[in-house]
Homo-oligomer: 134 residues x 2
Protein backbone atom coordinates (compact mmCIF):
# COMPACT_ATOMS: atom_id res chain seq x y z
CA UNK A 1 0.00 0.00 0.00
CA UNK A 2 1.25 3.42 -0.90
CA UNK A 3 1.62 5.51 2.22
CA UNK A 4 0.87 8.62 0.20
CA UNK A 5 -2.80 7.79 -0.25
CA UNK A 6 -3.64 9.59 2.98
CA UNK A 7 -3.86 13.25 2.17
CA UNK A 8 -1.91 14.30 5.22
CA UNK A 9 1.29 12.30 5.52
CA UNK A 10 2.83 11.73 8.90
CA UNK A 11 4.71 14.73 10.16
CA UNK A 12 8.43 14.62 10.54
CA UNK A 13 8.57 14.75 14.29
CA UNK A 14 12.19 13.73 14.10
CA UNK A 15 13.25 17.18 13.06
CA UNK A 16 15.41 18.55 15.81
CA UNK A 17 14.35 15.95 18.29
CA UNK A 18 17.56 14.02 18.38
CA UNK A 19 15.91 10.73 17.52
CA UNK A 20 17.51 8.60 14.89
CA UNK A 21 14.88 6.00 14.14
CA UNK A 22 11.30 5.92 12.90
CA UNK A 23 8.96 7.35 15.46
CA UNK A 24 5.55 7.27 13.90
CA UNK A 25 4.48 3.67 13.48
CA UNK A 26 0.91 4.79 12.99
CA UNK A 27 0.09 7.77 10.87
CA UNK A 28 -2.88 8.31 13.09
CA UNK A 29 -3.51 6.69 16.42
CA UNK A 30 -7.03 7.14 17.73
CA UNK A 31 -7.97 6.55 21.37
CA UNK A 32 -11.58 6.37 22.49
CA UNK A 33 -12.47 6.52 26.17
CA UNK A 34 -14.57 3.55 27.24
CA UNK A 35 -14.17 4.07 30.96
CA UNK A 36 -16.90 2.62 33.14
CA UNK A 37 -18.04 4.20 36.36
CA UNK A 38 -20.54 3.07 38.91
CA UNK A 39 -24.04 4.03 37.75
CA UNK A 40 -24.42 6.15 40.88
CA UNK A 41 -21.46 8.36 39.95
CA UNK A 42 -22.81 11.78 38.93
CA UNK A 43 -20.00 12.25 36.44
CA UNK A 44 -21.36 9.48 34.27
CA UNK A 45 -18.90 7.71 32.01
CA UNK A 46 -17.92 7.33 28.40
CA UNK A 47 -18.91 3.70 28.40
CA UNK A 48 -22.60 4.38 28.95
CA UNK A 49 -22.50 7.38 26.59
CA UNK A 50 -21.53 5.24 23.63
CA UNK A 51 -17.76 4.88 23.82
CA UNK A 52 -17.81 1.26 22.74
CA UNK A 53 -20.08 2.06 19.81
CA UNK A 54 -17.83 4.93 18.71
CA UNK A 55 -14.80 2.65 18.87
CA UNK A 56 -16.54 -0.17 17.04
CA UNK A 57 -17.61 2.07 14.20
CA UNK A 58 -14.15 3.60 13.84
CA UNK A 59 -12.59 0.14 13.78
CA UNK A 60 -15.09 -0.97 11.19
CA UNK A 61 -14.27 2.01 8.99
CA UNK A 62 -10.51 1.53 9.37
CA UNK A 63 -10.82 -2.13 8.45
CA UNK A 64 -12.98 -1.34 5.44
CA UNK A 65 -10.44 1.24 4.29
CA UNK A 66 -7.64 -1.33 4.39
CA UNK A 67 -5.55 0.79 6.73
CA UNK A 68 -4.29 -1.87 9.11
CA UNK A 69 -0.73 -1.03 10.10
CA UNK A 70 -1.10 2.62 9.15
CA UNK A 71 -3.75 3.79 11.53
CA UNK A 72 -4.84 2.29 14.81
CA UNK A 73 -8.11 2.58 16.68
CA UNK A 74 -7.80 1.83 20.39
CA UNK A 75 -10.10 1.81 23.33
CA UNK A 76 -8.63 3.59 26.33
CA UNK A 77 -9.22 4.03 30.02
CA UNK A 78 -10.45 7.31 31.46
CA UNK A 79 -9.12 10.25 29.46
CA UNK A 80 -10.12 12.57 32.31
CA UNK A 81 -12.76 14.39 30.28
CA UNK A 82 -15.74 12.90 32.06
CA UNK A 83 -17.82 16.02 31.55
CA UNK A 84 -17.04 15.94 27.84
CA UNK A 85 -17.56 12.27 27.11
CA UNK A 86 -17.40 10.41 24.89
CA UNK A 87 -13.85 11.70 24.65
CA UNK A 88 -11.55 10.86 21.73
CA UNK A 89 -7.96 11.93 21.12
CA UNK A 90 -6.04 11.50 17.89
CA UNK A 91 -2.25 11.47 17.77
CA UNK A 92 0.23 12.59 16.58
CA UNK A 93 -1.81 15.77 16.16
CA UNK A 94 -3.11 15.61 19.75
CA UNK A 95 -6.54 16.74 18.64
CA UNK A 96 -9.22 16.15 21.26
CA UNK A 97 -12.89 15.57 20.64
CA UNK A 98 -15.70 15.65 23.14
CA UNK A 99 -19.35 14.65 23.31
CA UNK A 100 -18.72 12.28 20.45
CA UNK A 101 -21.72 10.20 19.51
CA UNK A 102 -21.62 6.98 17.53
CA UNK A 103 -23.14 8.83 14.60
CA UNK A 104 -20.15 11.21 14.62
CA UNK A 105 -17.67 8.40 13.98
CA UNK A 106 -18.01 8.48 10.21
CA UNK A 107 -17.28 12.19 10.02
CA UNK A 108 -14.24 11.92 12.29
CA UNK A 109 -12.94 9.05 10.24
CA UNK A 110 -13.50 10.46 6.78
CA UNK A 111 -12.56 14.03 7.61
CA UNK A 112 -9.79 13.75 10.16
CA UNK A 113 -8.32 10.27 9.95
CA UNK A 114 -8.43 10.11 6.17
CA UNK A 115 -8.19 13.72 5.11
CA UNK A 116 -6.43 15.39 8.01
CA UNK A 117 -9.20 17.89 8.56
CA UNK A 118 -10.20 18.06 12.22
CA UNK A 119 -13.93 18.14 12.83
CA UNK A 120 -14.12 21.55 14.45
CA UNK A 121 -17.64 21.22 15.82
CA UNK A 122 -16.54 18.32 18.03
CA UNK A 123 -13.20 19.61 19.23
CA UNK A 124 -12.24 20.31 22.82
CA UNK A 125 -9.72 23.03 23.52
CA UNK A 126 -7.09 22.24 26.05
CA UNK A 127 -8.50 20.20 28.91
CA UNK A 128 -5.37 20.74 30.97
CA UNK A 129 -3.54 23.90 31.89
CA UNK A 130 -3.10 26.29 28.99
CA UNK A 131 0.21 25.83 27.23
CA UNK A 132 2.77 28.51 27.90
CA UNK A 133 2.41 31.34 25.43
CA UNK A 134 5.94 31.07 24.13
CA UNK B 1 2.47 24.64 38.82
CA UNK B 2 5.13 25.94 36.52
CA UNK B 3 5.00 24.10 33.23
CA UNK B 4 8.72 24.60 32.81
CA UNK B 5 9.69 22.13 35.49
CA UNK B 6 9.73 19.30 32.97
CA UNK B 7 13.06 19.40 31.23
CA UNK B 8 11.59 18.89 27.79
CA UNK B 9 8.71 21.27 27.20
CA UNK B 10 5.91 20.26 24.87
CA UNK B 11 6.83 20.72 21.26
CA UNK B 12 5.12 23.35 19.21
CA UNK B 13 3.16 21.05 16.97
CA UNK B 14 1.13 24.01 15.85
CA UNK B 15 3.95 25.28 13.68
CA UNK B 16 2.76 25.06 10.12
CA UNK B 17 -0.13 22.80 10.92
CA UNK B 18 -2.86 25.34 10.38
CA UNK B 19 -4.36 24.81 13.83
CA UNK B 20 -5.25 27.90 15.82
CA UNK B 21 -5.89 26.53 19.28
CA UNK B 22 -3.98 24.61 21.92
CA UNK B 23 -3.32 21.07 20.80
CA UNK B 24 -1.24 19.47 23.49
CA UNK B 25 -3.33 19.16 26.59
CA UNK B 26 -0.90 16.67 28.02
CA UNK B 27 2.80 17.20 27.74
CA UNK B 28 3.16 13.46 27.73
CA UNK B 29 0.39 10.96 27.25
CA UNK B 30 1.35 7.40 28.06
CA UNK B 31 -0.66 4.39 26.93
CA UNK B 32 -0.04 0.93 28.33
CA UNK B 33 -1.55 -2.12 26.67
CA UNK B 34 -3.59 -4.21 29.09
CA UNK B 35 -5.32 -6.31 26.49
CA UNK B 36 -6.56 -9.69 27.65
CA UNK B 37 -6.64 -12.76 25.43
CA UNK B 38 -7.92 -16.20 26.06
CA UNK B 39 -5.26 -18.21 27.94
CA UNK B 40 -5.18 -20.66 25.03
CA UNK B 41 -4.11 -17.95 22.58
CA UNK B 42 -0.46 -18.59 21.65
CA UNK B 43 0.17 -14.88 21.27
CA UNK B 44 -0.26 -14.32 24.97
CA UNK B 45 -1.34 -10.87 26.05
CA UNK B 46 -0.09 -7.76 27.79
CA UNK B 47 -2.48 -8.27 30.65
CA UNK B 48 -0.87 -11.48 31.84
CA UNK B 49 2.61 -10.11 31.16
CA UNK B 50 2.19 -7.30 33.68
CA UNK B 51 0.41 -4.53 31.82
CA UNK B 52 -1.76 -3.62 34.77
CA UNK B 53 1.25 -3.53 37.07
CA UNK B 54 3.19 -1.30 34.66
CA UNK B 55 0.22 1.07 34.44
CA UNK B 56 -0.30 1.13 38.17
CA UNK B 57 3.30 1.95 38.88
CA UNK B 58 3.37 4.73 36.27
CA UNK B 59 0.17 6.21 37.69
CA UNK B 60 1.63 6.04 41.17
CA UNK B 61 4.76 7.87 40.05
CA UNK B 62 2.79 10.53 38.17
CA UNK B 63 0.61 11.14 41.18
CA UNK B 64 3.59 11.38 43.49
CA UNK B 65 5.25 13.87 41.14
CA UNK B 66 2.16 16.11 41.24
CA UNK B 67 1.78 16.06 37.48
CA UNK B 68 -1.99 15.68 37.20
CA UNK B 69 -3.17 17.69 34.22
CA UNK B 70 0.25 17.77 32.61
CA UNK B 71 0.86 14.12 31.93
CA UNK B 72 -1.63 11.29 31.66
CA UNK B 73 -1.16 7.58 32.16
CA UNK B 74 -3.81 5.49 30.42
CA UNK B 75 -4.53 1.85 30.01
CA UNK B 76 -5.31 0.92 26.42
CA UNK B 77 -6.69 -1.94 24.42
CA UNK B 78 -4.49 -4.04 22.15
CA UNK B 79 -1.69 -1.95 20.67
CA UNK B 80 -1.05 -4.71 18.13
CA UNK B 81 2.38 -5.54 19.49
CA UNK B 82 1.44 -8.84 21.02
CA UNK B 83 4.86 -10.35 20.40
CA UNK B 84 6.46 -7.36 22.09
CA UNK B 85 4.26 -7.01 25.12
CA UNK B 86 3.94 -5.34 27.48
CA UNK B 87 3.72 -2.57 24.90
CA UNK B 88 3.78 1.11 25.85
CA UNK B 89 3.57 4.17 23.60
CA UNK B 90 4.22 7.74 24.68
CA UNK B 91 2.85 10.71 22.75
CA UNK B 92 3.42 13.28 21.39
CA UNK B 93 6.82 11.77 20.66
CA UNK B 94 5.29 8.48 19.46
CA UNK B 95 8.02 6.49 21.14
CA UNK B 96 7.18 2.82 21.49
CA UNK B 97 8.44 0.46 24.14
CA UNK B 98 8.22 -3.31 24.18
CA UNK B 99 8.72 -6.14 26.66
CA UNK B 100 8.21 -3.63 29.44
CA UNK B 101 8.24 -5.16 32.88
CA UNK B 102 6.79 -3.59 36.00
CA UNK B 103 10.31 -2.99 37.24
CA UNK B 104 11.02 -0.90 34.11
CA UNK B 105 8.29 1.61 34.97
CA UNK B 106 10.44 3.77 37.18
CA UNK B 107 13.11 4.17 34.53
CA UNK B 108 10.57 5.05 31.84
CA UNK B 109 8.98 7.58 34.14
CA UNK B 110 12.09 9.27 35.45
CA UNK B 111 14.03 9.20 32.20
CA UNK B 112 11.43 9.69 29.50
CA UNK B 113 8.34 11.20 31.08
CA UNK B 114 10.24 13.56 33.35
CA UNK B 115 13.47 14.16 31.47
CA UNK B 116 12.57 13.53 27.86
CA UNK B 117 15.23 10.88 27.42
CA UNK B 118 13.80 7.75 25.80
CA UNK B 119 14.92 4.49 27.37
CA UNK B 120 16.74 3.06 24.39
CA UNK B 121 17.07 -0.48 25.68
CA UNK B 122 13.29 -0.85 25.74
CA UNK B 123 12.38 0.84 22.49
CA UNK B 124 10.67 -0.79 19.56
CA UNK B 125 11.44 0.51 16.10
CA UNK B 126 8.54 0.94 13.78
CA UNK B 127 5.99 -1.84 14.26
CA UNK B 128 4.17 -0.81 11.11
CA UNK B 129 5.46 -0.19 7.62
CA UNK B 130 8.66 1.81 7.58
CA UNK B 131 8.00 5.50 7.09
CA UNK B 132 8.97 6.88 3.73
CA UNK B 133 12.61 7.86 3.70
CA UNK B 134 11.94 11.46 2.77
Amino acid sequence: MDRETLSWPAWDLQGGSGYNRPMIPYERHVFICVNERDPSDPRGCCSTRGGHEVASRLKELAHAAGLKGRIRINKAGCLDQCGMGVAVVIYPEAVWYGRVKPEDADEIFHEHVMQGRPVERLRIGSPGPSPAAD
